[in-house]
Structures are given as C-alpha cells and as structure tokens.
C-alpha cells in the first residue's frame, strides 16, 4: 500500500451536497476519480458548512467518504471582522491597498491553525497537494507550507482580488497550476507572467444522462417558453441583469417568456416579472436536467466564471446556452462548441433570444453541437488523462 501515490486536496469546505460552490464540487469530483485510480486521497478542510458565517458545524476529526479520507479542522476563532470587511470592501472597489493591509485581510479571512499544523507535520507524506480556490486565506497560507509539492487549482476570475500582491506571490511560489479553461490560463499568464508550460488545463468530467422535458412541463404546468438559470442567485453571478433583461424583453416583445430558477440565494425581481418566475430552489439532479432540456436556452449572465459546470450540463441536456459575452470562459466554450450565443447588452440579448425562440432547428442544432463538445472534451476519461498528466 505504501507505494501507492498519495495526494491531499485542500479547500475551505468539503462538498457534501448542493450547497457548496462549483470549485468545491470540482475538487471533490477530481478526488473521487483518483480514489478509483488507486491513489490514496486525503481531503483537508474546515468544519464549516456556511460560507457566510464560517461557523464550525462539523465535528473535527477524520471521516471516510466515498473512499476519500476527509480531515475536518476547526476554523480559527477571533477573526477581526471589522478589519476584514473594511479591507475587503476597499479591494472590491479596486482601491490601492498596501501589502500589510492585504496581509491583515488574509489573517482575518478564513483560517485554520490546526490545518496548517497538520500540513507542517504530515505534508511531506503527500506526493502532491492540490489546493483551491485562490481567494481564501486558507489556500494562501497552506500554499506556503510545502510549495515544492503544491499545485494550485485557482478557479481564477478577472476580479479585483486577482490583482492583490499576496495572490501574485502565491501563484509564483507554488510548483504548478491546474486550470479549468484556456481563458483562465491566459488570464493567469497575463496577471502574473506565469510560465504556462508548468500548467495544465483539466476541467471536470460530466456523465451523460437521460431527460424528459415533457414530464417537467407537465409537473409544473408550464405551457409557455422559458429560460432557465441554475446556481447561486447573487449580483456577482449576474442575476439582477437576467431579471431586468427578461422583464424588458417581455414588455417590448409581448412574448410570454417565463424564467425557471434552480439553486439558492435571495433575489429581488421587478414586480411585473415576479409572477412569471418558477423558483424551484434546490432540486434533484434529474429534475434540473429535465428542466434544462425543455428550455429555450440556459441563460448564464455571470462574467466571473472559471469553468461553468452548468452550461456543460445544459448542453448534455440538449439545450443551447445564452451567456454574457464579457465572461471570457463561457464565451470561449460557446465559440469552440457552436452551442450557444452571447450578449453584451440588452439589444443583443433580445435579438439572440428571439432568434433561439423562433428557430427551433437552430436551437436543436446548437444543443447538439454543445453536447458533442462536452462528449469530446469533458468525458471523465479525457479529464482523467489530463488530471494524471498534471499530477505527474
């Protein structure tokens, strides 16, 4: 057993259900694939479930989940939230801050001294340590412990946090990087001057599934065309743009276009649009896929994605996508697959949506093209071979 390669994943939360973000889901999926390949996989994470409060809700200790040994460590108490929020607000506004201020932001971010201590004493046992996403202090400080065997899986976005000096130092300090897409890799090269020959693009694999759009429509008595969005609803994900655009679309075109939402997070729809939203909250995967397959398009208005699992799922469900053109990763997926259209402003949104609505043949062809793209590049077999190449 001792000759098996040993790997640790480090992330602020362990994905136990639909409440975590895409980065945690990605890390867990990759960890599970390595278990199947015979690797010894440890996952070092915190006892927190809630990414707002970071309360320690899970008991510290070790648990085996799907062949992964998950180590839960408590989040440090005594965070100076006033300092943290004040610096964070300034970073978000793009204000100039000093390295000392950045460090005080990192120190008052989510940290776990117990996890750092474990890495210091036990980290040398791992052949590789993969950690992410980039903007958590837990990753920043963990990356300094064994940089010679650390691979960063950053899920990087073009946002103000990516321009911090400490983030740059972290990128330059580790052994290598695993990116989700070419635009993410190019962004890292542009921001930090990385030697991208030390990096790999891996992404996440998706398994195919069957769908029943008619059953979904019947269950929810949906007789009108609809757009769908799945995931967190928040300004950073562009939710307010989608709500405003759809309201104006309905007003200007007279088309009774509905909106189906799955996922979580509060949102504030314009009053006239509210009755035309079907908010399903968290739903089983099957329900989500059925909903996707019957939609005119999956609309993703976010400009801050490093991969976007949901648009790949939508293509597997046979639906085209309509994405924000300022989001380089999703734009790249659309250009390469021919599985979707994009918009940079309301007029382009209106024209694209009308085209998809009125041209069923085009809609189907785009859905099929997207599906072929996912099958060709994001099947588990192709992702696994890229992952093993990255770890070697």
């Amino acid at each position: 057993m001792s000759t098996l390669p040993r790997i640790a994943f480090v992330s602020p939360r362990f994905s136990e259900g639909p409440t975590v973000g895409g980065a945690e889901t990605l890390l867990r999926q990759l960890a599970e694939r390595l278990v199947v390949k015979g690797w010894q996989v440890d996952y070092l994470t915190t006892c927190a479930r809630n990414h707002f409060t970071w309360e320690n809700e899970i008991l510290p200790g070790r648990v085996s989940i799907a062949g992964i040994t998950v180590h839960y460590f408590p989040v440090d108490s005594g965070r100076d939230l006033d300092t943290f929020i004040s610096v964070q607000n300034r970073i978000s506004r793009g204000a100039e801050i000093t390295r000392d201020e950045e460090l005080s932001w990192q120190k008052n971010n989510v940290n776990s001294q117990a996890l750092y201590q474990y890495l210091k004493t036990e980290g040398h046992q791992y052949d590789r340590i993969v950690m992410g996403p980039y903007l958590f202090a837990l990753v920043y400080f963990s990356s300094q412990i064994h940089p010679d065997r650390t691979l960063l899986l950053p899920c990087l976005h073009d946002e103000s946090f990516a321009y911090l000096k400490t983030v740059r130092e972290m990128f330059l300090n580790v052994k290598g990087w695993i990116f989700n897409s070419e635009p993410e890799q190019q962004l890292a090269r542009r921001l930090y001057g990385l030697d991208i020959s030390k990096s790999h693009i891996v992404g996440m694999g998706l398994a195919e599934f069957a769908t029943d759009p008619a059953a979904f429509r019947q269950r929810h008595q949906l007789n009108s065309p609809y757009l769908i969005y799945s995931g967190r609803r928040e300004p950073m994900k562009g939710t307010p743009i989608l709500l405003d655009y759809l309201e104006v679309f309905r007003e200007r075109t007279g088309v009774d276009m509905k909106l189906v939402l799955t996922g979580s997070g509060p949102y504030d729809p314009p009053p006239q649009l509210a009755p035309h939203i079907l908010d399903l909250g968290f739903v089983p995967e099957k329900e989500k896929h059925d909903a996707m397959s019957g939609a005119v398009a999956f609309c993703h208005p976010s400009v801050n994605e490093s991969f976007s699992i949901v648009i790949l799922e939508s293509w597997l469900a046979g639906a085209p996508v309509l994405v924000h053109g300022a989001g380089e990763v999703m734009l790249d997926h659309c250009r390469k697959s021919n599985g979707g259209l994009w918009f940079r402003n309301y007029p382009e949104f209106e024209e694209s949506l009308l085209l998809l609505l009125t041209r069923q043949g085009l809609r189907e062809s785009m859905g099929k093209a997207g599906k072929r793209y996912v099958q060709a590049h994001y099947s588990w077999s192709s992702v696994e071979s890229r992952l093993l190449a990255a770890l070697s």
Binding site: S197, H324, S337, N338, R344, Y346, E348, L362, K368
Partner: protein
C-alpha cells in the same frame, strides 16, 4: 500544452457568424432609434460594470439616459374605470390631486433638475477624458515619430 486541445466544429452551425449578423441587426436598429428610451436605460443599470470595455455602447447608454432623464410632471387626465359613482370618484381624485400638486410639483421639478445636472456632469466627464485621451494619443504618435528606426 497543446493550444488546439479544445478545437471543435459543429456541422451547419456557426455561432460567430450568427453573432455577427445579430450585431449588425442591433447596430441598424440602434441607428433607427428602436432601442432608445428609459426602459433600456433601466435594463442596463446592473450591466454598466461589464460595459467598461465597450465604447460604442456607452454612447448608446448615454443616449438612453438623455431620453429618460426628465420625468413628465405635467397634468394628466384623471379617469375612473369603475362605472358606479364614476363622476363622483373623478371629482374626488381631482380634488386630492389639486391639493397634492402644490407639493409634488416642487419635489419633482427639483428631481428633474438634479437628474439633468447629473447627466450634464457625466457628459462633461466623458468629454473631458475623451479629449484628454485623444491629446495623449496624438502626443504618443508625435513622440514615436521622433524615435530612430529600429
């Protein structure tokens, strides 16, 4: 690292070509004024951050704002849809409006002034920086022309 790793084509569908056609249609419609108005300005309120690299769209957005900036504060016809007691209800509404108008007219005209001033300020800032960038670009060209050939 192979850069061509993700190259794939789809028979019969070309997203980029379709988007080029959509963008042409949008440009023509913008010229004809099909997208002017307060509605559009409202739709873009959360998208402004994403438009910073799109100079043409900023012009369009400013045009929408110009259309939307002054709210109509003139008198309007007061009607009543319910048939029963309609004349009485209309009279009551007119009386209430007559009392309120004195106060609201003052408030709304002030709001219109503020809106107008904010728009003028934004236009001035936009013009100032465009002029500044233009003069800097001209200066760069001039300085570059003085450089010896490589």
């Amino acid at each position: 690292m192979s850069t061509g790793l993700f190259e794939i084509g789809a028979d019969g569908v070309d997203s980029q070509k379709i988007m080029a056609e959509i963008q042409e249609t949008v440009a023509a419609k913008m010229q004809s004024g099909a997208y002017a108005g307060a509605q559009l300005a409202r739709a873009e309120r959360f998208n402004l951050m994403n438009m910073k690299k799109d100079e043409n769209f900023f012009d369009f957005y400013m045009e929408s704002l110009r259309e939307a900036v002054f709210i109509d504060i003139n008198d309007f016809e007061i009607r009543e849809r319910r048939a029963a007691f309609a004349p009485l209800l209309v009279k009551l509404k007119k009386t209430i409006w007559g009392l309120l108008k004195f106060y609201t007219y003052r408030l709304w005209s002030q709001q219109n002034q503020v809106n107008g001033l904010l728009l003028s300020a934004t236009e001035e800032v936009d013009k100032k920086y465009r002029d500044k960038i233009k003069s800097l670009e001209e200066r760069i060209v001039k300085l570059e022309s003085r450089l010896p050939p490589p």
